[in-house]
């Protein structure tokens, strides 16, 4: 069955540095790979989506890469701020329209001032 692996340990980063989170998957490459942010007690919030034919996507201080050979996505937050502290989830969508979307377990990111 399809597995998604994210850093299980929390990531602690000094404010102003770049945070890099990893998402690895097994078996089939998805049509889409998505990243979400989740704050305690809240539902996940969509951040970025990257398609299988795209190598990189950017949005403000966020950057996502997608390597279908390595079966890996990297999520970067540049010039990190304490307000970026949250859990970040990657999600895989295996078809090009809405379909079953499965999530990784998430990585907790803490940005210290």
């Amino acid at each position: 069955s399809q597995k998604i692996e994210q850093n299980s340990e929390a990531l602690n980063i000094q404010e102003g540095k770049t945070a890099t989170l990893t998402c690895n998957y097994t078996n089939y490459s998805p049509a889409y790979l998505q990243w979400y942010r989740q704050d305690p007690g809240r539902g996940p919030v969509f951040l970025l989506l990257i398609r299988e034919n795209e190598k990189e996507k950017r949005k403000e201080r966020l950057k996502v890469t997608f390597d279908t050979t390595l079966k890996q996505s990297l999520f970067h937050i540049t010039a990190s701020q304490p307000a970026d502290s949250a859990t970040y989830l990657c999600a895989l969508d295996f078809y090009s329209s809405a379909s079953k979307i499965i999530f990784g377990s998430g990585t907790r990111l803490s940005i210290r001032p």
């Binding site: 539902g43 996940p44 919030v45 809405a98 079953k100 990784g104 377990s105």
Partner: protein, 112 residues
């Protein structure tokens, strides 16, 4: 409202009871998802609706769990004979056909 609405936000019940959790998606979203999330874990897929029909219910853990979406809008997740292991946050999300999911704040279920 503008977002996905889930009720109740909290539900405490006794083992063996029946529970219904409701999800009101964003108007016009054809896709609707249910997930279950335990502490420290990512959302676990339960079921996905496209319109009124369940397009994929492969994540439902057993036959005590059932979900409906009779008119292609509001959905209800039904859990029969609840067990302590069913305690979790149940998340609902809706989507257009572009993959981005809009989540509600979840229904926290506690089975005593």
């Amino acid at each position: 409202g503008a977002g996905v609405s889930q009720t109740p936000s909290n539900k405490v019940t006794e083992k063996g009871k029946y529970v219904e959790l409701r999800c009101d998606p964003i108007s016009g979203h054809t896709a609707l998802y249910w997930y279950r999330q335990s502490l420290g874990q990512g959302p676990e897929f339960l079921i996905y609706f496209q319109g009124t029909g369940a397009a994929d219910d492969s994540g439902l853990p057993n036959d005590r769990f059932f979900a409906v979406r009779p008119e292609g809008s509001v959905s209800t997740l039904k859990i029969q004979r609840t067990e302590r292991g069913d305690s979790a946050v149940y998340l609902c999300a809706s989507s257009q056909l572009d993959g981005e999911l809009f989540f509600g704040e979840g229904s926290r279920l506690t089975v005593l």
